[in-house]
């Protein structure tokens, strides 16, 4: 919508700047098919060249690293009129207004725009849009103005995301200074604290997910591991940590004070198989499987459940959550996975819950205002949150 609005703003000035008496440099290429009006008078109507497209506008595509040029035009007047029915459009490009013009793409009838992704950054290009009739004749638009693609330093489509991140950062910084009495505790975190603070028969085992380090669940799980170590220090001792992702293994090694974690396999299914064997042999008192996981989350939680210990699980894959609820004694759902670590940490990190509540309240207000704005036809509000995805 932004681009269309831009075209409508720029269109008059572009049309005004076009030399209307300028002959198309590709006319020479079309000499055999584009007949002068006087010469075509005696020909049947289907051999007449169709009307060319009008108002060809070329613009550097916004918010990119360059190398992309957008073309917009008004389709031929013969589109669908039956005089010389338009068979399609052909986009031609040259590095000089005199040519030579080379064909880039052929588009179907009804098209009024094209995105040229093959341009080189900093090279001026000139475009012509050729209207092809179904009978084989064609006519060319005027040569466009020079289009130069450039890199932009700021993606304006993502300003709303930047604003959101700033708000979260601000709330984080403000909430860290709150007094201790305003602490907040997740019910799931409270239960987890109780489980870990109790004495159990058998060791505590911990799996920080099987997904790679790109999954936020894995990172959140490592922050939770710090707290599991702290809480279980007195009663259950250090947990046995099983890792699947090499990076998670390296970081878990940093966290564990007395021994290294067990790296079983980078393959999630083989890891599940290995862990099932380990769980059945070790008979853990408590098993915590939290992090980024797919279907293997269910296999791992089942292995824990069948080994007889208290099973705690949570995955960022929402589709797996119902199975974990059915299998485990405690399931961390959704945001609980990401918040359990910060909430259980001593000191200011307990304010994490407050941050989350305030941010959710803010999102709720934004959604409700959005619903009202949509009902009232206020489109700028929706555009404000658009990230410009194609």
């Amino acid at each position: 919508m932004t681009r269309i609005a831009l075209v409508w703003v720029l269109l008059p000035s572009v049309i005004a700047s076009q030399p209307f008496d300028m002959a198309s440099p590709v006319d020479s290429l079309n000499a055999t098919t584009q007949m002068p009006a006087a010469a075509t008078a005696d020909f049947p109507s289907d051999t007449l060249a169709p009307n060319p497209v009008e108002s060809l506008v070329v613009l550097d595509a916004p918010n990119d690293a360059g190398g992309v040029i957008d073309l917009f035009w008004t389709p031929s007047l013969d589109e669908g009129l039956g005089k010389a029915t338009v068979g399609g459009y052909e986009v031609l490009r040259a590095e000089s207004p005199e040519g030579p013009f080379l064909s880039l793409v052929t588009l179907g009838p009804g098209t009024d725009r094209f995105r040229d992704r093959t341009a080189f950054r900093g090279t001026p290009y000139y475009y012509v849009v050729r209207t092809n009739s179904q009978s084989g004749s064609h006519s060319d638009s005027r040569v466009s103005q020079a289009a130069l693609s450039k890199s932009q330093w700021l993606d304006t489509n993502r300003l709303s995301v930047m604003g959101g991140i700033m708000v979260i950062l601000l709330v984080l910084l403000v909430t860290r200074r709150l007094p201790d009495e305003q602490e907040w505790l997740l019910p799931a975190a409270r239960t987890l604290t109780e489980i870990l603070s109790r004495r159990h028969q058998g060791p505590t085992v911990y799996i920080p997910g099987t997904a790679g380090f790109g999954d936020m669940g894995t990172i959140a799980s490592l922050t939770l591991l710090e707290q599991v170590l702290r809480l279980g220090e007195r009663e259950t001792g250090d947990p046995i940590v099983y890792t699947s992702d090499p990076m998670a293994h390296a970081l878990a090694s940093e966290l564990l004070p007395r021994h290294t974690p067990d790296f079983l396999s980078p393959d999630p299914l083989i890891f599940s198989l290995s862990f099932t064997g380990e769980a059945l042999r070790q008979r853990p008192g408590v098993g915590v499987v939290v992090g980024g996981m797919g279907a293997e989350a269910f296999l791992l939680s089942e292995a824990l459940s069948r080994s007889g210990g208290v099973a705690v699980a949570g995955t960022t894959d929402i589709g797996e959550t119902p199975f974990l609820v059915a299998t485990c004694d405690l399931t961390l759902i959704g945001e609980e996975i990401l918040l359990a670590g910060p909430v259980l940490a001593p000191g200011g990190c307990r304010a994490a819950g407050l941050v989350q509540d305030r941010l959710k309240l803010l999102v709720w207000i934004l959604i409700l205002v959005g619903v009202a704005a949509a009902k009232l036809g206020v489109s700028w509000y929706v555009r404000l949150f658009s990230t410009g995805g194609e």
Partner: protein, 207 residues
């Protein structure tokens, strides 16, 4: 000395990774490409460290365990050596490596996946045994969706698929989106905590 550099480095690189999301300029792309390159290198090094830790652990088990406890570590180390040696002579399907992969590893993976079907049935049975109000709603919703997915369901209860579609597109989507919003907010907050060293792998650790 190196540990003292961890936090400033995490802030610098984490900040750069966030910043390049907003900078489409080729300079931003260059920084992003370098960050990805370093990540790949780190992952490769971490994988080597992980495999070495695995071998060390299994060797320790072979040395210290009883005869029955030695079987699995020995089997694991033997399999690893076999795959490594087979891989030296090519990794296509026609090679020994391909044969081991297709005849041993893939069937193992497939059998693990097939276990899911049994576990799912078991989980459904356990859910349906629950007697709370949410469990009853879950049971009714599950039955409606299950019946709507089979031809017999529509024969038994006409237009049940309409209700099932409403459950999937209405309450289900609403709940999922609610979870996603909460997770999205928490993910950004967690990322900031880790990058700024307030908590997590870059700021925590052995002290």
């Amino acid at each position: 000395m190196l540990r003292a550099l961890t936090r400033p480095l995490a802030i610098l690189l984490g900040g750069a990774a966030i910043l390049v999301y907003f900078v489409p300029h080729q300079a931003g792309q260059w920084v992003e490409a370098r960050l990805v390159d370093w990540l790949v290198l780190l992952q490769a090094a971490a994988l080597v460290a992980g495999i070495l830790a695995l071998i060390r652990r299994q060797l320790a088990r072979v040395r210290s365990g009883s005869l029955s406890q030695r079987i699995y570590p020995m089997l694991m180390l033997g399999s690893m050596a076999a795959m490594l040696i087979a891989g030296l002579f090519g990794t296509t399907a026609a090679t020994a490596f391909g044969a081991l992969y297709g005849s041993v590893l893939q069937p193992i993976q497939a059998s693990m996946l097939s276990l899911l079907a049994f576990y799912m049935a078991s989980a459904v049975f356990r859910s349906f045994r629950l007697t709370s109000a949410p469990a009853t709603i879950l049971l009714i919703s599950a039955l409606v969706v299950l019946l709507a997915r089979i031809p017999l369901g529509e024969q038994m209860i006409p237009r049940i698929s309409v209700f099932a579609t409403w459950i999937i597109r209405g309450p289900n989507v609403a709940a999922t989106r609610g979870l996603w919003i909460g997770m999205g907010l928490a993910a950004v907050a967690t990322a900031f905590r880790v990058i700024l060293g307030v908590q997590g792998p870059s700021g925590g650790g052995r002290s």
